[in-house]
């Protein structure tokens, strides 16, 4: 039993990372209607930027927040310079642009950082706590704490501030928002900036747990985050968090306890999600857009 709990706790920690990235996907989907396939690579690039800052002797938390700021600007620029231009085009075109972005960022990271394995400093101590027989790593607690903090800050921003309200309104009803003086296109850019920040946090949290990383480390995580976002409902932030944690826990349990599936972890998780989607085509918390006929 303690074993299972242990797996659950560390599943929650990895789930926290998936939740952050899934939230980024949801944020962009809700505001611009785009599925940003490049979200993982944006997060990867941010992680490399953090590494670069740390490598040059910048103290950890300074580098952390500086990376977030740079990522925010990067997200805004991408939206303004690229996404905005194709925002009126058909879905296929926009998807292809994000794919192009994915390829571009991956290549750029390989080019700048020479494709070598790097290690990112771990801000959390490597000790463990024994809670009633369950061994919990300080790192996992740290990841969960940071994830919660980020989600909380975001929640406060959107629910309690004037700009946050305007951003929500711009996503829900852009026409009416304009009539109230909201610069809708800048709200969209804000969404991309915030999503980039979420991705950066996810990348910086997860990179130390993998020992070393290179420009491909976020690809599998993006897949899990995508699955989590869809599971929760692509237009539901709550869904993203719940979905992320669920995927994290499920992957851990499947990997540990079902031996046949251990190298089939990914397809097994996806199959599970597919089955859930058949029952709830808009995800667990997604809005049902009425379709009769």
């Amino acid at each position: 039993m303690a074993d299972v709990l242990q797996q659950v706790v560390s599943g929650i920690a990895s789930g926290g990372v998936y939740a952050l990235l899934a939230l980024a996907l949801v944020l962009i989907y809700r505001s611009t209607g785009v599925v940003n396939f490049a979200q993982g690579e944006m997060a990867m690039f941010s992680t490399f930027i953090c590494w670069e800052l740390l490598d040059r002797g910048v103290p950890y938390w300074v580098a952390f927040f500086l990376t977030l700021a740079i990522s925010f600007v990067g997200g805004v620029l991408i939206e303004r310079l690229v996404i905005h231009v194709v925002s009126r085009a058909q879905a296929l075109t926009v998807v292809t642009v994000t794919i192009g972005l994915l390829i571009l960022l991956n290549g750029a990271a390989a080019w700048i950082w020479k494709g070598e394995q790097r290690t990112l400093e771990n801000p959390f101590p490597s000790r463990t706590f024994d809670v009633g027989g369950v061994v919990i790593a300080a790192q996992d607690i740290g990841i969960i704490a940071v994830s919660l903090a980020v989600v909380a800050v975001l929640w406060v921003f959107f629910q309690k501030t004037r700009v946050g309200l305007a951003a929500r309104a711009a996503a829900l009803n852009p026409e009416s928002s304009r009539l109230h003086g909201v610069r809708v296109s800048w709200m969209l850019a804000l969404g991309w900036g915030l999503a980039a920040v979420l991705g950066a946090v996810a990348g910086i949290l997860v990179a130390p747990t993998q020992g070393s990383f290179d420009q491909n480390f976020m690809l599998p995580i993006l897949i899990f985050a995508f699955a989590a976002a869809v599971l929760g409902g692509l237009d539901s932030p709550i869904g993203a968090v719940v979905g992320g944690v669920a995927v994290g826990i499920a992957l851990n349990l499947i990997g540990t306890y079902i031996d046949f599936f251990s190298d089939l972890r990914l397809p097994a998780a996806l199959l599970l999600i597919l089955l859930i989607l058949l029952l709830r085509p808009n995800g667990l918390f997604g809005r049902q857009i009425a379709r009769r006929v």
């Binding site: 004037r162 829900l172 304009r178 009539l179 610069r183």
Partner: protein
């Protein structure tokens, strides 16, 4: 003659290839309610959209003597509030959040509190339903909310599109009374598009009658109401 608050001169507008306005010339002064009347498709809604910038238009549009910007956000920030047909309710947000959005254009916190009180006085039900999702309100309530949203931004000019649409006569009267109080007490002006000419003329100082994208008749409300030919040909009663 003081410069009118709003001036449209030879304004044209199109939806894609279809021209909806063929040269509209109207004026709205300070502290007055002006109605825009006419049959379906005459271009009434398009006129309001041309002002707020939600449709492509050309020609002379001046607010306070200065040319109107093209972007709807900029027009709103100048102090022109547009209550569109369809009401523009933010259905997923609460009533309170809707009002806060209405006040987005203004900067003063204390002024907002005061005006919020006034809105509550005029629409008491808002106080009871502040946390209700706006999409669950009835049509009349959404219309009132839309007007309150416009008012609470303290605009100088309110554009209202078909306030009476789908509403009971009693509510319509209430809406127009509230509008009138804003004009009188807060020095606003209003440009009201209406199908129901009778009600509109009752509450306006002046009116324009549009036909096929042009101004066919204009004059004071009394003149138009008194003119039987105009009433029969253009206003349907």
């Amino acid at each position: 003659m003081p410069v009118p608050l709003l001036e449209l001169e030879g304004v044209e507008a199109r939806y894609g290839a279809i021209r909806a306005l063929h040269g509209i010339t109207i004026q709205v002064g300070e502290r007055e309610v002006v109605s825009v009347l006419g049959a379906n498709g005459a271009g009434k809604t398009t006129t309001l959209r041309a002002i707020s910038g939600t449709v492509r238009r050309s020609g002379g549009l001046r607010f306070d003597g200065k040319p109107l910007p093209r972007a709807p956000e900029a027009v709103a920030r100048l102090g022109i509030a547009h209550v569109p047909e369809g009401r523009g309710t933010f259905a997923e947000l609460t009533v309170d959040e809707n009002l806060q959005l209405g006040a987005f254009v203004r900067r003063d916190r204390t002024g907002y509190e005061r005006d919020y009180e006034e809105v509550l006085a005029q629409f008491p039900w808002i106080g009871e339903r502040r946390h209700q999702q706006a999409g669950t309100l009835s049509g009349g309530e959404q219309q009132m909310l839309a007007l309150a949203r416009a008012f609470i931004g303290r605009p100088r000019l309110i554009l209202v599109d078909e306030p009476s649409l789908g509403l009971a006569p009693l509510i319509v009267q209430q809406l127009f009374d509230v509008l009138r109080s804003w004009i009188d007490e807060h020095g606003m002006s209003a440009l009201v598009v209406e199908q129901n000419a009778n009600v509109a003329l009752e509450h306006s100082e002046r009116a324009y009658v549009l036909e096929v994208g042009r101004v066919a008749v204009e004059g004071s409300a009394d003149e138009l109401r008194g003119n039987e030919t105009v009433r029969k040909s253009y206003l349907g009663y």
